[in-house]
């Protein structure tokens, strides 16, 4: 105790001496909220509007900081580890933060906010919001899931037409669907588009999201969905899953070595594929949310005529393929001073009408975690005024969905951060390994990472 107070005193005196004068705190209860910056300005505006409405309603004040994605990730992790935390963190993709910190008992249980809406929330949202706490030895809700997103296919319809193909003819199974675009490249090259590629396959990235998400979908398409199950167990020993992983690596690396993927895809970061897609360096991309389209919404021809969004085909065995959803929303780090206000704000945010209003204002880049919203408000499925949203909502809300693996076991986040799958692809492409050798190596590493996480 003595230690703490002395430290606090030193910290305090230095703080007083050096901190820039901030606006004095208002008399009412002020909660500090960190929010991730949207990919389109409308998302930030929508969040501010929700905050304003809450402030009017409650008389409390929200002290809001908006930060870019990476900055928020790092600030959040530093804050949680040092104990100097905001009252609420609102994040699009908190999967690098939540699983491990819930495990370490560094987050507030928000079950009392989530439970009242339990029946309304989608099963996937509930899964994405609950995490295992190794101290209490049980799962609980640590995320208040407001919004969800899936990855649809994005393509330049004008390029497909120019090549003489019709998207209606696109096959209904996964591998065949990808293969459909290969002759599009051949045809366009014959027409003189010398440097055009068919597929924006993020085969190995240096960023945290795209490559891992893509690989997970390939696994699902090849019947390897159960690589990690809800109980947190890893099933790399299952021959069917190993087979699915090998077939995924084989297919993806072959697309690359056959020359249907831009060669620089091997050194892309998470934004590069989007940029190259916008420049029409390739025809088709598989990527999270509607951001590739929304980024170009001011370009009327591109958004309304040229760009096409498509949902998922079936798995390779012909069965319906679920989309893997990520969830965004609010979470409260342990040590927050105004937990009551943070929870009250999130409870307010969870009201279907508030959630709906907020996500609509954000241009529908995210879908609500309460599925009934999209059925009741025609805006979501309206194809007359928006060419893409309905397809996206069908995939993310109305079709079959599964949760991300991250919530099942915190080890998965480390697998993703290490880019184990990207490394497997690089092993095949650059070092001439066979797909099965590359998967043996990757599985070995995954098993090692998982072995350090022991439940119960």
């Amino acid at each position: 105790m003595k230690n703490v107070s002395r430290r606090a005193m030193v910290a305090g005196s230095i703080g007083v001496a050096l901190a820039r004068p901030y606006v004095a705190r208002a008399a009412g209860v002020t909660a500090t909220v960190w929010q991730v910056q949207g990919f389109v300005p409308e998302e930030d505006a929508a969040f501010r509007k929700t905050v304003d409405a809450y402030e009017k309603l409650s008389g409390n004040r929200i002290d809001l900081s908006i930060m870019p994605f990476q900055a928020l990730n790092q600030k959040a992790i530093a804050a949680i580890h040092s104990g100097e935390v905001p009252d609420l963190i609102f994040h699009d993709a908190p999967t690098t933060i939540l699983p491990q910190n819930a495990w370490d008992d560094r987050l507030e249980d928000v079950s009392d906010v989530v439970e009242p809406q339990r029946t309304k929330l989608s099963a996937t949202a509930l899964l994405n919001a609950s995490f295992y706490n190794s101290r209490t030895k049980q799962r609980a809700f640590y995320l208040v899931p407001i919004k969800q997103a899936c990855a649809p296919f994005h393509m330049w319809g004008d390029l497909v037409r120019k090549a003489g193909f019709d998207l209606k003819d696109a096959p209904k199974t996964w591998n065949a669907y990808w293969d459909f675009f290969k002759p599009v490249q051949t045809a366009l090259r014959k027409q003189g588009m010398r440097k055009l590629y068919a597929l924006g396959l993020q085969i190995t990235t240096v960023g945290p999201n795209d490559g891992n998400g893509l690989f997970a979908h390939f696994l699902i398409a090849n019947g390897g969905q159960g690589i990690v199950t809800q109980d947190g167990k890893l099933h790399t020993g299952d021959p069917a899953i190993r087979e699915a992983a090998i077939r995924s690596v084989e297919f993806m690396t072959k697309c690359y070595t056959d020359g249907f993927v831009p060669p620089e895809a091997l050194s892309w970061n998470d934004a590069d594929d989007n940029n190259a897609y916008h420049e029409k360096l390739f025809v088709m991309n598989f990527d999270g949310t509607l951001s590739p389209e929304l980024a170009m919404i001011k370009n009327h021809k591109a958004y309304y005529e040229d760009m096409v969004v498509m949902g998922l085909p079936n798995r390779n065995d012909g069965s319906p393929m679920p989309a893997q959803l990520g969830a965004g929303g609010g979470f409260i780090p342990k040590g927050a001073k105004n937990i009551a206000v943070a929870k009250e704000f999130m409870t307010y945010f969870m009201r279907p009408e508030v959630m709906n209003e907020n996500l609509k204002n954000g241009l529908g880049r995210w879908v609500p975690s309460i599925p009934s919203i999209v059925k009741e408000d025609p805006w979501w499925l309206d194809t007359a005024t928006d060419p893409h949203r309905s397809t996206y909502v069908h995939e993310a809300v109305l079709g079959p969905t599964v949760a991300q693996y991250n919530g099942f076991n915190p080890a998965w986040g480390k697998v993703a951060a290490e880019q184990v799958w990207g490394q497997a692809h690089a092993d095949v492409i650059k070092h001439g390994m066979t797909a099965s050798a590359a998967i043996d190596k990757a599985f070995g590493r995954v098993e090692e990472i998982f072995s350090k996480v022991v439940f119960g």
């Binding site: 230095i14 790092q74 530093a78 690098t96 831009p262 290490e418 880019q419 090692e448």
Partner: protein, 292 residues
Amino acid sequence: MGRALVREWPPAWRPRGSERAWIAAFLIPYVAVFVAFMAYPVAFGLWMGRSPALYAELVRDPKFLPTVLNTLIYTGVGVNVTMFGAILLSGYFMDRSRWIKALLVLFMLPWALPAIPAFLAWHWMLVGHWGFMNSLLDKVFGIEGPIWFNDYWLALGSNIVATIWKWMPFWTLIFLAGRMAIPQDIYDAADVDGAVGVSRFAYVTFPLLGNLYLICTLLSTLWLVGDFTTVFFVSGGAPARTTEVLATYGTHLAFDSGDPPLGSAAMLSILPLLIPLAILLIRRLRSREVQL
């Protein structure tokens, strides 16, 4: 003059009463900043990275040893090429003709240019198959350039070249200052002995600048080992995070994998190499005081 400088500096002399208070007053700002922003974070960092289990975990990470190796190659090649180039170029810039003086002004630009814009420019110059470098190769020489960041050696090499580009001007300036302190009569004497060109550099200039060269090499090694910005912006670790150095790797572990203690441990792991270098640096700095 020479003799005055050989003596121990400063001459031992015991300050009295009020002078002690003055000394304290002059030193307090530095000591306070040092304790609050250096000693405490260092101690905290060591405390964070105290668990031996962290290092066992690091060694098992297949990315760790390659990253250490990258750091050594990056620093080793980067520092030595920079230093050797700088000492040679400082001779070139001793020429006082007007256009060489003007060239020196231009040559210093990379140092004055902030690192982020500079390395962004390098990244964009080499990125993909349509970066400026490949466009230039294509348009001017008709050669199809490689995808620079797809290849381990090319990507690592790009990082090294960019860092040399950025830091060589500064060290050239330091050596230029060193060379200007060499009295002309030494060279006159060397001229009489017929030492010109390479032999003049090898037998006159270099021995005189030897200690400075060593000090600068040590300093720049210590600065470059922890370099984050170059690698982060130029190759970004591509391809597949194989060109990362400890600084980017540790940050990655801390914030992308969400494990700050492991990140700290990754960065601390190079300390056994750096502390001897720092001690050597300090010894060289002191020994210079009695050496002419």
